[in-house]
């Protein structure tokens, strides 16, 4: 009997060594066929953290200050979703740009190659923690390739498709929106990058390429920036993004 009970504790789970290979909840043991108390409560705590991330807000002042190093103008925009509750129930409003923001953008219309847009999405905390680390790798790649960059735009209460309107108004050939992804239990800090060639309002997901899970414990900043840059070069070469643009980087060697 002692032996059986001992076998239930998480430290003694024979599957414990699997934890070395993944952040997934392997090796958590069992009591009967159920999850042991300690692990069950740890899960609840992680869910509480994720719920809190959904309600976090962009640190505009801090981020704007950090972006100064890139010598790019920074604009602060809003979607048509007035607050978080409305954002959660009305994704259509999160995809649209508030009128005053659209007017603001018209003053910056140019002839840009790439428009970088940063939105809170479902985890402003992800942006607050990780976007500068990603930009530190990404922007030098753009600069070295002589790509002309539009002002960096923050969008509050923004969804992916808001990038179509922003980049279209700026007259950019391609948009990259860096957006806080829906928090998971083990990661409330993931950024997703969505690329759209020829951005204009009305496009849907098949027109985009997505690189997800960008964070220090997931897809790290440098490989993420390399991948984004690779896809952008391919997008300019093929004049498209979306399902017609495959990530063949692994096949051709890198």
């Amino acid at each position: 009997m002692d032996k059986v009970i001992k076998g239930l504790t998480t430290h003694d789970s024979p599957l414990n060594p699997l934890k070395e290979f993944t952040a997934a909840r392997v090796g958590i043991g069992r009591t009967g066929t159920s999850i042991p108390t300690k692990q069950s409560l740890a899960f609840k705590l992680a869910h509480a953290h994720a719920r809190d991330a959904v309600y976090s807000v962009l640190d505009i002042d801090g981020l704007s200050n950090d972006i100064k190093q890139f010598n790019l103008p920074v604009l602060l925009l809003h979607s048509k979703a007035g607050n978080r509750a409305e954002y959660l129930q009305r994704p259509d409003l999160g995809r649209k740009l508030k009128k005053s923001s659209a007017n603001q953008l018209k003053e910056y219309t140019g002839d840009y190659d790439v428009s970088i847009i940063i939105a809170d999405g479902l985890s402003a905390a992800a942006i607050n923690e990780n976007v500068i680390g990603l930009l530190n790798h990404l922007i030098p790649l753009f600069t070295a390739a002589n790509l002309k960059l539009a002002p960096v735009c923050f969008v509050e209460q923004g969804r992916v498709a808001v990038s179509d309107k922003v980049a279209h108004l700026l007259n950019a050939k391609l948009s990259v929106i860096l957006i806080g992804e829906r928090p998971g239990l083990s990661s409330a800090d993931s950024i997703g990058a969505y690329l759209t060639y020829g951005p204009k309002p009305g496009l849907t997901d098949e027109s985009r390429n997505c690189i997800s899970n960008i964070r220090p414990q997931g897809l790290m900043f440098k490989p993420a920036a390399d991948k984004i840059f690779y896809l952008i070069q391919e997008a300019f070469r093929m004049k498209l993004t979306g399902i017609g643009l495959k990530d063949n980087q692994g096949l051709i060697g890198h």
Binding site: T22, A24, A50, N248, G250
Partner: protein
Amino acid sequence: MSYQTTIGGKVYRFDDLKTLLAKASPFRTGDALAGLCAESYEERVAAQITLADVPLKVFLSELIIPYESDEVTRLIIDSHDLNAFSLISHLTVGELRDWLLMDETTTSILKSIEAGLTPEMVASVSKIMRNQDLIAVAKKCEVITHFRNTIGLKGHFSTRLQPNHPTDDPKGVAASIIEGLLYGSGDACIGINPATDSPSHVMSLLWMIDQLRQQFDIPMQSCVLSHITTTLELINKNKDAPIDLCFQSIGGTELTNTSFGVSLSLIEEAYQATLSLKRGTIGNNVMYFETGQGSALSANAHHGVDQQTCEARAYAIARKFKPLLVNSVVGFIGPEYLYDGKQIIRAALEDHFCAKLLGLPMGMDVCYTNHAEADQDDMDNLLTLLGVAGCNFIMGIPGSDDIMLNYQSTSFHDALYLRKVLGLKAAPEFEAWLIKQGIVDKQGKLTSANEGSLYNHFGSLWIK
């Protein structure tokens, strides 16, 4: 054609069939977002009362999305079987509900009318059914499919082992697979959602699972859930590609599928290509489809049709290609479509019922996201209800936590709980393998004594 009913002197008029269907739908945020839902509790019941009197034959003449403009409508109408319909052709929607619930309406009778039902008929009757009704009728259906094992037998309950990893790291994926197998998971398939839809990534994952399957002689099948064009490209480039199943997400309107980058002809091409590999040993159900309420609205492609009816229309596509597995990803889409546990549970029971009645091997991704008003307790309720309803399979994920897709589904433990409390077993061929390996005993109970040696046995593949 318009429909109407009078309640307490107030006349409720519904301009057309799709409006009637939308207003009769139990409340969910997606229909409110689309501006389609009933405006009061009374209007909703008025619509349900009106809908109950609509003859089933009407659904063959009044099409909610025009035949000319939508290939899903054309598929539904062109594949409708009047012979199979004849047994129920005289019924109204309300009478169909009563008929479905009759003790005399047996499993084999339900099977005989499958091809006579359209998605709209099935969606309609679901709207006037309580959760209990959806469970009771689905329980009578039996949809069995085969590839390397047998899924869907009454008294059996399978899982898709979902070992996702944020960077598709093969060792990370393998760790979750090993854990899952040692918990008796994976009889529906081992199905990985790749983090990046890259052909080379997909191929290396496919090779790895196939090596595992062959080394341990496991009667199971695998799938990497990439876009169908990626699967097709891999097959066309390499006839030895270890592709058991071809996956695709589908929706209930042509425009929705356009937004997914697919069409019926593309799915047909991929279906034929996958069949040509001839990898199934005891059957050739090679397709795996995922669906989910809200996708049509999300793609702005719903034509004013409510999300549950759009969902049921997707099942017409699925059944054309004789899939091994179909599941709705019910709570994955988020609170703007299904707001809370109550809405998610209702939608899942509707999806399971509608799909089973149409003859699909329906499973369910019992799940929620962190921005929905739901938690594990809601999933426990849904899981148990679906087990009672005879659901073919659910997902198996380490500790319920998908660290790649960032949502919560069901754990390996959850499936074992359900098998235990309801006396359900894994797919027979897979269970025989589990017993042979010493993972479970002859009663299907996990054998804790062997865990250490089993781990060493399987782990030796990757963990040195």
